[in-house]
């Protein structure tokens, strides 16, 4: 119980601090007055721009925490991360299309939809390829994912070279790939919250079978789990969660890898408590990282993925060192 209260409190604190942070720092009092309906311009900016952005960042982090937990559970590998099966490459390709190809649809709609479609489509392709080639086990899927990532990366590079000119800058593509939460309107934020809640529910349904799968494939099969089918379903579900995160926040590095580990230290490896705990950890990490991204170098904004990578790189090294020692 103490762990959950601490996590919830830490998230609340992170959200308050992040709501204060920006090029113009607000006091917690300003934030409270703005929420209470203060009509001043500063207060309206906080309510219309900063607070939705902070909450969106928290949701993106929660989705990455969920997705990472599912992928590590399915592949039973501590280095598994949500972008493993081509979803990063697919999302980046979709976003590149949305950003560089002039289409009749508004970009604010097109970007998340194409990023989502790219992320999920790439994972479905990877599963299809591994099934057709008969390599339905985890190793086969991982190899298919690596190949898919290479193909999609090359396609994206080609598109970037072919479609850019004086009027279309590559910088917008680059900054999207490096991750960054878009500021949503309140209705869109509501939609994001509903999608995130659905993702939590979806992954919780997988929790018990993820535990069983962790016993090893032989034992899981003898306990009545159809391993091949479950792995495929879990990967499909996990990649929906990741695709939603990517659609809202671009490619944010390391959060999906690190959150499940931190959560496991806090609540243990059973997936039913682990999934919500990992979502909370992810939410805290991205909320804080987004606040740093917005306020460290005013008036410029550092891409969110750079902030999480600078913090996540050392974490990754620490993780490897711990693993090598045990």
């Amino acid at each position: 119980m103490r762990v959950w209260a601490s996590l919830a409190l830490a998230l609340l604190l992170a959200i308050i601090v992040a709501a204060c942070a920006g090029h113009d720092w607000a006091s917690p009092g300003d934030v409270l007055r703005a929420i209470a309906g203060d009509p001043s311009l500063g207060a309206r900016l906080l309510v219309e721009w900063r607070i939705p952005r902070v909450l969106a960042a928290a949701l993106v982090g929660a989705l990455l925490g969920l997705g990472g937990t599912v992928f590590q559970g399915v592949f039973r590998n501590p280095l598994a991360e949500p972008y493993l099966l081509g979803s990063a490459g697919g999302a980046a390709l979709g976003a590149t299309l949305a950003l560089l190809v002039p289409l009749a649809v508004p970009q604010s709609l097109l970007l998340p939809v194409l990023a989502f479609a790219g992320a999920w489509g790439a994972t479905i392709l990877v599963i299809g390829i591994s099934r057709v080639s008969g390599a339905v086990d985890a190793a086969g899927m991982l190899l298919a994912g690596v190949a898919m990532a290479a193909i999609l990366g090359a396609l994206r590079s080609f598109l970037m070279l072919a479609l850019s000119d004086e009027t279309v800058s590559l910088q917008i593509v680059l900054s999207w790939v490096l991750g960054g939460v878009q500021t949503p309107s309140w209705p869109v934020l509501g939609l994001m919250a509903a999608i995130s809640a659905a993702c939590l529910g979806l992954t919780l349904v997988l929790a018990r079978n993820l535990d069983i799968l962790g016993l090893g494939e032989t034992m899981a099969t003898s306990f009545g789990l159809n391993v091949t089918r479950f792995v495929m379903l879990a990967v499909l579900a996990g990649s929906v969660v990741v695709a939603a995160a990517v659609a809202f926040g671009g490619l944010v590095a390391f959060v999906g890898l690190a959150s499940p580990h931190i959560a496991r230290w806090l609540v243990g490896p059973l997936h039913r408590p682990l999934l919500p705990a990992s979502a909370l950890v992810g939410a805290i990490v991205v909320t804080v990282a987004d606040a740093i991204a917005r306020s460290a170098l005013p008036p410029a904004e550092i891409p969110l993925g750079l902030v999480t990578a600078v913090a996540g790189g050392p974490f990754f090294i620490l993780l490897l060192a711990r693993r090598l020692r045990t």
């Binding site: 069983i212 034992m219 003898s222 059973l270």
Partner: protein, 247 residues
């Protein structure tokens, strides 16, 4: 009543034939030791009979039903399988592991879980994590996980091979004792343990059953020497026979 029948099982993997038209018929109760040299097909036979691997041809009958027609859940409930190696990926506690075993059954009450934990002398270890357990404790946890739903058929692939003699006796005796009112099929490497604790011995070589007889009858069978490629001296002791192998 439950009976387990293997009907002309053949398992081929690539060029290798692991089981070669093997047939075996087992009643609803009894303790059966499966013995044979390395690579004879004992582990494959057990996995196929447990429904974990599908045979290239042939079928398994559980009672009057084809095992392949049963749902995964029904199969998991009827057939307990103890693998040769078990190493869970997540460092779960003893209580969590036994609970996971129980959840495959049809609503196993917590008191049944507690009873199983007590029966395997794990009562004080409920919160201990797998990584902190000794080999003997791990073997008992594994048996508790499999037996917590009290399956009518148990298939165990020499779960005691790496244990010291005291723990090995414990485990083998517990498995053989289940044969009094259930079906217990165990791959045993120590022939003396097989002959002293089990009713019936199935001798497997090159993917087929070479001999299938009560322990007493098989002891003098010269095929035993032929299959293992040694000459056994049968030594009489106060409570049975001992086998000593000579090249």
């Amino acid at each position: 009543m439950t009976a387990l029948v293997a009907d002309k099982l053949t398992v081929k993997r690539g060029n290798a034939t692991l089981l070669d038209g093997l047939s075996l018929s087992l009643g609803p109760t009894g303790s059966i030791a499966v013995i044979g040299p390395n690579g004879a097909g004992k582990s494959t036979l057990l996995k196929v009979m447990a429904g974990i691997e599908t045979p290239t041809s042939g079928r398994i009958l559980l009672g009057d039903r084809d095992l392949a027609s049963l749902s995964h859940a029904a199969r998991a409930h009827a057939l307990g399988f103890v693998p040769q190696h078990f190493d869970p990926h997540w460092d779960l506690s003893v209580g969590e592991l036994v609970r996971l075993g129980a959840e495959r059954g049809e609503r196993v009450p917590q008191e049944a879980v507690d009873r199983t934990i007590a029966a395997f002398e794990l009562s004080g270890l409920g919160h201990r994590r797998w990584s902190t357990l000794s080999g003997g404790e791990r073997a008992r946890v594994l048996l508790a996980m499999v037996l917590v739903v009290d399956p009518p058929v148990l298939l165990a692939d020499e779960p005691a091979a790496s244990l010291d003699i005291r723990h090995r006796l414990d485990v083998i005796q517990a498995l053989a004792a289940r044969g009094r009112d259930r079906l217990s099929i165990v791959v045993v490497h120590d022939l003396d343990l097989a002959f002293s604790f089990f009713d019936r011995i199935v001798l497997v070589d090159r993917g087929t059953v070479v001999a299938d007889a009560p322990a007493q009858a098989l002891l003098d069978d010269p095929q035993l020497d032929a299959v293992f490629g040694v000459r056994f001296e049968r030594l009489q002791t106060d409570d049975g026979w001992l086998l000593r192998a000579r090249l």
